[in-house]
Symmetry: C2
Subunit: 383 residues, 2 copies
């Protein structure tokens, strides 16, 4: 029996996690939930999973939720304090960090410091502060488990093999919705078009990241920390069917690939059940679908964000945090129609050029790089 | 440094093993070689690898070889005694069993009993006497390492994962040279046609086995012993490109596949270097080749040998040994043009129907089933 705390329980990943947990009441107990403001869904989750503790974003949301579930014995907190309580709930064995972007950093670190295993869906945490996260995980003897399908695939392929024998990791990318769209027409891409992902059902921010391929860029940085890899050991290969979730190649020419249906439930269930596996409630992969798999290189001219990520990884220090902050801002601007699709990459490129990187000695260095870059990107847009 | 003894050093697998060992003098020392009669090649191998001991099939071959290498200090033995000396050479750490068919059984068991790790290319050994082989390996604390590409793939995919989580193993088959040939024309297949394998370069016996798909049948039985699987956990899937060497599917829907270039050097090097990996002297897999992969079910009407193997596995006891003996005889008859291609399966089917299976308590039970079946098949042909 694992006791689970889910941060971001009403988002795509959080809700999917609960859907995967539901058929396995003998294996999981949900002890805490945190979400910003989706009171309706939170109420249903409370009634279904009976967590001891729930955290929401504001005192108003907390009040509204309290009224809804007055008949249940559930503690309701709010704000950063509530969130940190959910991240460090004493009875939790594992915390699923599934919040959007930089907001996941503090609760993830708090969970690790409280000795919780961390199933990490919020890759931005690793991008911003991989060095700190890895060091804290080591210091507190906790497991870090990737939840995203690609690093989960790499994790599964490397299990039982010696990392010293690795030649390279091949992260697969669906190529996003604009793989075949001519670059000349990128300025006319609307948020609605960018939010229509061809293979994966995901939240808004990651769906835009998948359209710019920045999602793959963030995964490169995430993978470098998770698996202790250098930039030259990580490659991206476009695989539009999203059946092969990633591959590893060893020095002796052997390649291992992990595959499965295109559903986030798979890596989520694996991370939560690890080192066990549990029967999937999803359909199994139809192996005849394998006959239609294709692979092609990334078009770096159309998708410069992958290159930015390699640069940030090579530069190290606060560069990945700045990359992440610039990307979060640019995605927001695009979704609110303040910039065009190609300007996402332009803004990020400018932010990278202007960032004065430094070594990360503490969390404050990361947060300062994040704040500074957000100011800089906002300023660049005003200019 | 591993000290290696190679049984069948002049065959396809043995010669390939030496080609893979050659670029790694810091990792391997060849201490013993055994071959039947290819004196020319053996002389070259002796001059290149300086083994202490070499065994050949007959006193005549031993005499001829001794004359050739009179200038070298090498001990030359012959017959079953010579072969067993090579299989149990005191300084050997690992023995590569790469002889053809049932002939590999005695030296393989001798190697295990002498405490040697066994890299097993001769799958017939496991088919005939898997129960004995596994028990002896356990009793003597030695490693059994599959050398064939499919079980090597399964071995690599299962490493680091819990066998209790396995749903099924998918052995890939190239489908052989007659995958697309209409069944009506099977009677006109010549040995020359059957020996032209579309993807793998192998010895004669295994090439015919690949044409009848009995090779896959033998692998089903081999895999059941190697990985402790029931027949229902092993499936065969036709994959004409021979890039995916096999796959495993877990209960949670995750599939792991092992891939590589179509060259036996890969699994041979892995088995010999295990648990290390060494840089391959072969080209790496061109990942763009993955775009042309196809998968289809086995046509059991055209290729009944796969079904015979499942039946023998389910029946247990001496049935697999009888299956193997009948197949070895039938392949010989086909190669010497005494029977047609479809009659290989007919003869095996008859032998299976007539076999009176029994439990295997000792090696003698296996050898008796082997001899009895050979007599029976010879008799069936005379009749």
């Amino acid at each position: 029996m694992k006791r689970v705390s889910i941060l971001g329980s009403t988002g795509t990943i959080g809700a999917k996690a609960l859907a995967m947990i539901e058929p396995h009441p003998e294996s999981f107990e949900v002890v805490a939930l945190a979400a910003r403001s989706s009171i309706d869904l939170l109420e249903r989750q409370i009634r279904r999973f009976s967590p001891r503790l729930v955290a929401v974003g504001t005192p108003e949301a907390a009040k509204a939720l309290k009224d809804r579930v007055a008949d249940r014995s559930v503690e309701i907190g709010w704000g950063i304090e509530g969130l940190l309580s959910a991240a460090t709930a004493p009875e939790a064995d594992i915390v699923l960090a599934a919040m959007v972007g930089a907001a996941g950093l503090l609760p993830s670190l708090a969970a690790i410091k409280a000795g919780k295993d961390l199933a990490l869906a919020t890759k931005e945490v690793m991008v911003m502060a991989g060095e700190l996260v890895m060091a804290e995980a080591k210091a507190h003897g906790v497991r870090l488990l990737p939840v995203d399908s690609e690093p989960s695939a790499v994790f599964q392929c490397l299990a039982g093999h010696n990392g010293a024998h690795l030649k390279r990791v091949l992260l697969t990318s669906s190529g996003g919705p604009f793989r075949k769209r001519p670059r000349e027409s990128f300025t006319s891409i609307t948020p609605e078009e960018a939010l229509r992902h061809p293979t994966w059902v995901m939240g808004k921010k990651i769906t835009i990241d998948s359209a710019t391929l920045m999602n793959k860029g963030l995964e490169i940085i995430e993978a470098s920390w998770f698996f202790d890899l250098e930039a030259r050991q990580i490659e991206v290969i476009v695989h539009p069917q999203s059946i092969v979730h990633s591959m590893v190649e060893f020095m002796d020419g052997s390649v291992l690939a992990q595959m499965g249906v295109t559903d986030m439930g798979l890596p989520i269930l694996y991370a939560l059940s690890y080192p066990e596996r549990l029967p999937t409630p999803l359909p199994f992969l139809d192996l005849h679908a394998l006959s239609a798999l294709t692979f092609e290189p990334v078009d770096h001219e159309k998708f410069p964000c992958v290159g930015f990520a390699y640069q940030a990884l090579a530069a190290g220090g606060t560069y990945p945090a700045a990359l992440n902050a610039a990307n979060e801002m640019a995605v927001d601007f695009f979704l609110s129609r303040r910039i065009t699709f190609p300007e996402i990459a332009t803004l990020i490129g400018k932010a990278m050029d202007n960032h004065r990187g430094r070594k990360i000695d503490s969390l404050e260095d990361v947060l300062e790089a994040d704040r500074e870059t957000r100011r800089l990107v906002e300023g660049a847009l005003q200019a």
